[in-house]
């Protein structure tokens, strides 16, 4: 008899679950996952105003403008799904955004589908292909020296400081697209937000970080110069 009761209970739950699964669009599923994992920071409306946002620095991303920092697409573009996937899966170092790699692939895809509903740009625009990252030249002393020159030429130090500590003369004045104060990253300690691989750093130089004062340098430096800059920035980190 107990087995029968349990079977009935399981059956009833299965029916209820099946009912829930009828709402099976990726975005609909993602909404549930968003409500569980994301809403406390990014807010019900995806505007970065969750109840925890006031306590967080940097503040959570506002999704409504479709402006995302970490992309493979050119400056100003909306991100590709794989860009959002990388951010969600790996998290963002030195922020409250943890790596959600423990979630299933399906969960992550559903989350992305729902996050994209917050901005009409995703319905109207198609993201460009990922930028091409040329082969990395040797990371040696001459490359680092050349990178240091580029660092000075494009005035990275204005924000990030001459030593890359995020203490440049403009650092205290920086604000993001929503008027929130924003810090220039300190390259010398910890990990890099975008990832520590040279390709990750190269990508940031060439795509910029949408919604922040960090521009794209794709028009002002050559790929080789960008790679030298990557080597110089990574050398700052390696010193410490």
């Amino acid at each position: 008899m107990p087995k029968f009761k349990m079977a009935v209970a399981c059956g009833a739950m299965a029916l209820l679950a099946a009912d829930g699964m009828a709402e099976n669009g990726a975005a609909a599923r993602g909404k549930k996952a968003y409500g569980r994992y994301c809403v406390s920071c990014h807010g019900v409306d995806g505007d970065g105003r969750g109840y925890e946002a006031q306590h967080l620095d940097p503040t959570p991303r506002n999704f409504t403008k479709g402006a995302f920092k970490w992309r493979t697409t050119p400056s100003g573009q909306i991100p590709r799904d794989e860009d959002l996937l990388r951010t969600i899966r790996n998290g963002l170092y030195a922020t409250a955004m943890p790596p959600w790699g423990a979630l299933s692939d399906q969960d992550l895809k559903d989350l992305i589908a729902y996050v994209k509903t917050f901005s009409p740009r995703f319905a109207k625009e198609a993201p460009d292909p990922a930028i091409t990252i040329p082969p990395q030249p040797p990371n040696n002393a001459s490359s680092i020296a050349a990178g240091k020159e580029t660092y000075q030429t494009v005035q990275c130090g204005q924000c990030h400081g001459d030593g890359g500590r995020g203490d440049g003369p403009s650092a205290s004045t920086l604000k993001d697209e929503w008027g929130q104060p924003i810090k220039a990253h300190d390259f010398t300690v910890g990990n890099l937000k975008c990832g520590n691989a040279p390709e990750d750093v190269y990508r940031v130089f060439m795509t910029g970080l949408n919604g922040t004062p960090m521009p794209s340098f794709t028009d002002s430096v050559t790929p080789d110069e960008a790679w030298h800059l990557v080597h110089y920035v990574l050398s700052l980190r390696q010193k410490h």
């Binding site: 829930g20 994992y37 920071c41 692939d105």
Partner: protein
């Protein structure tokens, strides 16, 4: 012991063991630290979800470079409390009275017990947990957990060493149950409890060390404990009467689409040695005098399925295990052998609402005492309930909890009758 006295003892034990306040492990201190809601780590608190398991396995780290104590304001102190005040009604059949056998019931608001928990990271390489549980009607409390863990030794997440009083890595944690009125029987059952020299059960936290490891996301993980079993009276030392326990699991997505979203397979087992002879004082074993060690073991498997969206899933868990304890522990004529397990289902249609049900069973294959029939003490328990979390945040959680249990034990009543205990509980479970 006579059948009647055995019946009375069983009734007392059953009544005492029924409403057990939930112990540990819902920990808003972590939510406060990271600014996330309880739903981040809990499928339905206190049950962990995939993210919560990975967070735990990483040594209570999010991995954002802001995990260490020095990354938080000095005032941050990782402490939390949990209690579950509520009303409980219990009835039992075949209670012997002067007027014959009767079914009697009692109900009251239980004296709530409380857990005080502290835990988290000590540095980039170590974490800890300490739980003091109790403070009930007797006013006593005990250290339920107290351990420190060296995390990712050598930077390798496959090597973590935990030292201290810790929970064995059970298929479903007995310290994070959704059911309050019914233990996982396969963890705690023992035939003719009162005649066994052993007190060990899988649900109790153990004193010792645990080596564990996991991959990224804790999809594959293992844990091996080497402990001084708390159920080995008279033990000389950890090394003379140890307990070895191991559990390995693999979680995977079998299909790229469809209702079945995730599967977890696991295998677990334990073997322990304990004295069967010792000097006594006042009838009590003297520590260190134990000899003639005999073995006991458990071996089993677990299967978990998640259907529907992983954030609001139907989760089904099946655990089956076989147990054996040497006859010497009972002064019997044959080893005690039994099998059992549980089938548990939890459905969370919304992140604040969970329906749950469980069927526990125990079947004896061989009794240690000749006079006992084979199915003496066989058990069946059905538990069902719901849990509605009407307030949750990164500071606190408050849930309304209601459940009912029907627990039948074969032949242990007067004249060999079955005993059936029913219990209803409703209360408010809160953690802060």
């Amino acid at each position: 012991m006579s059948q009647k006295s055995r019946t009375v003892l069983f009734a007392v034990v059953a009544a005492a063991s029924f409403w057990q306040p939930p112990t540990a492990d819902a920990f808003p201190a972590f939510a406060r630290k990271y600014g996330v809601a309880c739903t981040t780590c809990h499928e339905s608190w206190p049950k962990l979800n995939d993210f919560g398991r990975a967070f735990r396995d990483r040594g209570y780290r999010m991995g954002t470079g802001m995990d260490d104590p020095t990354d938080k304001p000095p005032a941050y102190w990782p402490i939390a409390i949990r209690a579950t005040p509520g009303y409980s009604y219990t009835s039992q059949n075949n209670v012997e009275t002067d007027d014959g056998l009767r079914t009697l019931g009692t109900g009251s608001f239980e004296h709530p017990e409380m857990d005080i928990l502290t835990g988290g990271t000590l540095s980039s390489k170590a974490s800890f947990l300490a739980v003091i549980a109790g403070f009930g009607a007797e006013g006593t409390a005990q250290i339920e957990s107290a351990w420190v863990r060296l995390d990712a030794i050598g930077g390798n997440p496959w090597f973590n060493l935990r030292v201290g009083k810790h929970e064995l890595d059970q298929p479903r944690s007995s310290h994070r149950p959704l059911t309050f009125t019914q233990d996982y029987l396969i963890y705690v059952h023992r035939p003719v409890e009162d005649q066994s020299l052993l007190q060990f059960n899988l649900a109790d936290n153990q004193l010792g060390v645990e080596l564990s490891g996991h991959d990224d996301g804790s999809r594959t993980r293992y844990a091996v404990s080497f402990a001084d079993a708390n159920g080995a009276p008279g033990s000389k030392s950890l090394f003379s009467s140890p307990l070895l326990y191991g559990h390995v699991t693999r979680r995977f997505q079998p299909f790229s689409s469809g209702a079945l979203k995730q599967v977890k397979l696991g295998a677990f087992g334990t073997v322990g040695w304990a004295p069967t002879r010792f000097a006594t004082s006042g009838g009590e074993p003297i520590e260190g005098s134990g000899t003639s060690n005999k073995t006991y073991n458990r071996v089993g498997g677990d299967l978990s399925l998640w259907l529907g969206p992983m954030s609001t899933p139907l989760a089904i868990t099946l655990v089956v295990a076989h147990a054996r304890e040497a006859e010497d522990f009972y002064g019997g004529t044959a080893d005690a052998k039994w099998t059992g397990g549980y089938l548990q289902a939890e459905f969370t249609p919304r992140i604040d609402l969970t329906f749950f049900g469980r069927y526990d069973w125990i079947r004896h294959g061989q009794q240690p005492l000749e006079e006992l029939s084979k199915n003496f003490g066989d058990r069946d328990a059905v538990t069902a309930g719901l849990r509605y979390t009407f307030s949750y945040s990164s500071r606190s959680d408050v849930a309304w909890h209601v459940e009912f249990t029907n627990h039948r034990t074969k032949l242990v009543g007067p004249d060999g009758l079955d005993l059936t205990t029913k219990q209803f509980f409703t209360g408010i479970d809160f953690a802060f």
